[in-house]
Symmetry: C2
Subunit: 424 residues, 2 copies
């Protein structure tokens, strides 16, 4: 007869095996681009979805505040940033995490009703996940930008690119994303700070359908140029695919597998399969990295964004070995060190993904299925490749780096799981 401890251990193993099965058998497909209001019917006027675990205006960091005021002007809820700030102070906006609405957003992660969102369907489970369209580099809302140029671009995404992508995608059978990511891993992408391969592959997949469905040639050229000049275009799609894969893993009793990791610029939060939608949070850390000319660590905001969903599925920092060129970009060191990151993440994960392999590691699969028990036992926390925003609103990206998830989240979650399972 099994002891209580053995029985709990056995239950966790079974639950985690089911979690891994759902992760590996997921079949994410890009099927559409629609206004967020259509994708997420709960979205209403004055409602703003943001990156990370829940946070109120008073605790929001500079770039997040910049984005909130900017998106309020964009949606026509305020005539200018000053008025938007007053409204935010007065509690006029309903602020909610993207994660609670099947959505994810990079950095500040603003999702509001008129913005177009990429729709990824997980054909193994039937669920959908959403993410806005990547704005490109420079001064952009996800990094806290909110001036006229930022809002103009968002308007073009809403009025031109979003609808066109929707028409083009609905004309086809959808784009299977797992094979695309698999090729990206052979092209130096890790799908967080480097998406050059997948962005290029996505464009070549989309271009013929866009050509068939867009009447205005100048607009078509502009769209192809916008997508083609943004090496990070695929990032938002990688995030939606991550959310589409992990949402069906969110409610497996006894499972110790992490289903979400995310940051709001103030707190880092995780969710764990056996603990449903409860957030376990700790203060977010500061990335270590390289800064664009004219900026330094003094300008940096702490870590931010839902993009950590890609690490949750074994990409980003977990797949660093696939992307030796990113190691330098994020200041992690030489390419040979890149492989060490991936190997270390193997110590806190339950399996390797046989469909997503890394040529440089002789086709070893990316480390997949973060187990909070392994994190707490080893003290090794997930490595995250991240962009760095200026800490003040309205400025934008100042660098890129590597950051560790704070151990405290995992310790809190493990205690909660132990309590739930009736063990200490």
């Amino acid at each position: 007869m099994m002891t209580t401890s053995e029985k709990v251990g056995s239950n966790i193993r079974k639950a985690n095996a089911e979690a891994i099965r759902r992760i590996l058998e997921a079949k994410p497909v890009l099927i559409d681009v629609v206004p967020a209001s259509e994708a997420i019917p709960a979205l209403q006027e004055g409602m703003i979805l943001h990156a990370g675990p829940p946070i109120d205006w008073g605790n929001m960091c500079g770039p997040m505040r910049g984005a909130v005021t900017g998106i309020a002007v964009f949606e026509g809820w305020a005539t200018d940033l000053a008025e938007a700030e007053q409204l935010a102070e007065s509690g006029a906006f309903s602020l909610n995490p993207n994660h609670d609405f099947g959505a994810v957003g990079p950095m500040t992660g603003m999702t509001t009703l008129s913005q177009p969102v990429l729709v990824v369907e997980n054909r193994a489970s039937g669920n959908h996940a959403f993410c806005t369209i990547n704005e490109g580099l420079g001064k952009v809302m996800r990094f806290g930008g909110n001036d006229a140029s930022v809002l103009k671009r968002l308007g073009w995404l809403r009025d031109t690119l979003g609808p066109a992508l929707g028409v083009a995608l609905r004309a086809g059978k959808g784009i299977e994303l797992k094979p695309l990511v698999a090729r990206g891993l052979t092209m130096g992408d890790e799908m967080h700070q480097r998406n050059l391969g997948c962005s290029s592959l996505l464009l070549r997949t989309l271009a013929p359908d866009l050509a068939r469905t867009v009447d205005d040639r100048t607009a078509l050229a502009e769209m192809l140029s916008f997508i083609g000049s943004n090496d990070q275009f695929f990032l938002n799609l990688a995030m939606a695919l991550g959310k589409a894969i992990m949402d069906p893993v969110c409610d497996i009793d006894c499972s110790s597998v992490v289903t979400a990791m995310t940051r709001n610029g103030t707190d880092f939060g995780i969710r764990v399969s056996g603990l449903g939608d409860e957030w376990f949070t700790a203060p977010v850390e500061m990335p270590e990295g390289l800064y664009f000319p004219g900026f330094s660590a003094d300008d940096a905001n702490p870590d931010m964004g839902d993009s950590t969903i890609v690490e949750t599925i074994g990409l980003g920092g977990f797949a660093m070995a696939a992307a030796p060129a990113v190691a330098g970009f994020v200041g992690a060191g030489t390419p040979s060190i890149a492989a060490d990151f991936t190997r270390t993440m193997g110590e806190i994960t339950l399996t390797q993904n046989p469909e997503w392999t890394i040529p440089a590691l002789d086709y070893q699969g990316v480390p997949t299925g973060i187990d909070i028990r392994l994190v707490v036992e080893t003290g090794i926390t997930p490595t995250i490749n991240t962009g760095i925003a200026h800490r003040k609103p309205g400025i934008g990206q100042v660098g890129a780096g590597v950051v560790k998830a704070p151990l405290a989240c995992f310790e809190l979650a493990l205690k909660a799981l132990a309590t739930r399972l009736g063990v200490r």
Copy 2:
């Protein structure tokens, strides 16, 4: 006072330094696509340029014969393959190497007057180099295919894609190719058997200009789809850029640097800077590699094509370390072995190219400037990544592999150089 031997050595060193300078300072730019008759005014009716050193009909291998008869039908010089073969037997066609006309061609390498060619300008030297447009995979003329489907595709390239690319390119400032190759090396390409990254980057560069200049949306979609579904589309451009880089290196007195390596399916030939346009040939070897389902080494034709120009500039087999995924495809072994190929090629080259670096080797440049003295001294001959054609005409590609350049070419060339410089 220097001895004769010291003086010769010094002259060779100076000459080779100049060869390396010309290679590294070359500035190849894709500027146009025009009919071969316009690019190469010497081309006439009945004249066929082929891959490799000179060869007559009687000595041509099966796929080369298949391509000659096919292109004769395509050009309207014969009504069918049987008539084309009779004409070829009777000496009706003028057969000449591409290399003598500023051109290169993959595998059989057919270049005739009505085919469109990519035009690469070397802006450091002002010379131009040409290569036809890649036909895609499967049954294609470069692998000896010559049926109606092959000729139909060539007709579409001549009548639709070629002219459209010309218009789109002339509307812009040209596409600088060195930075493109540099990015490709960070995306797992070695630019011979793997061109996925560069083909995708090229498409995203061309797509907006094509959208602006092509009126017919269906035709535009077809072009974008053709380019986007051919992972080897960039190969022919890599070859033209190689030829554009090496042609200005062809006449440096005393230099022992290889300026061309090429094969006609029967002979392997090299040219050496200090020996001008003289060919040094030896029987070509059989690639070792992997075969497509249904084919084996019994079906294979010996090594063929001008594509070895990419190894001549440090890519292909020389850059294997950049392309771990290709190591498996060509049957060379595991990704870790890929790096060994690049290191070994370092033993027969004079320098590394600082603009073309390999992330996995901590940004070491590709081995560049093959010195025939080093080849003969070490007995190490260039490693070439290659496609494998069926030995019979009309069938096509049956696999991919690795082949060594035959040592005898280099020994012959070294003897000739020694004679010319008055040493034994």
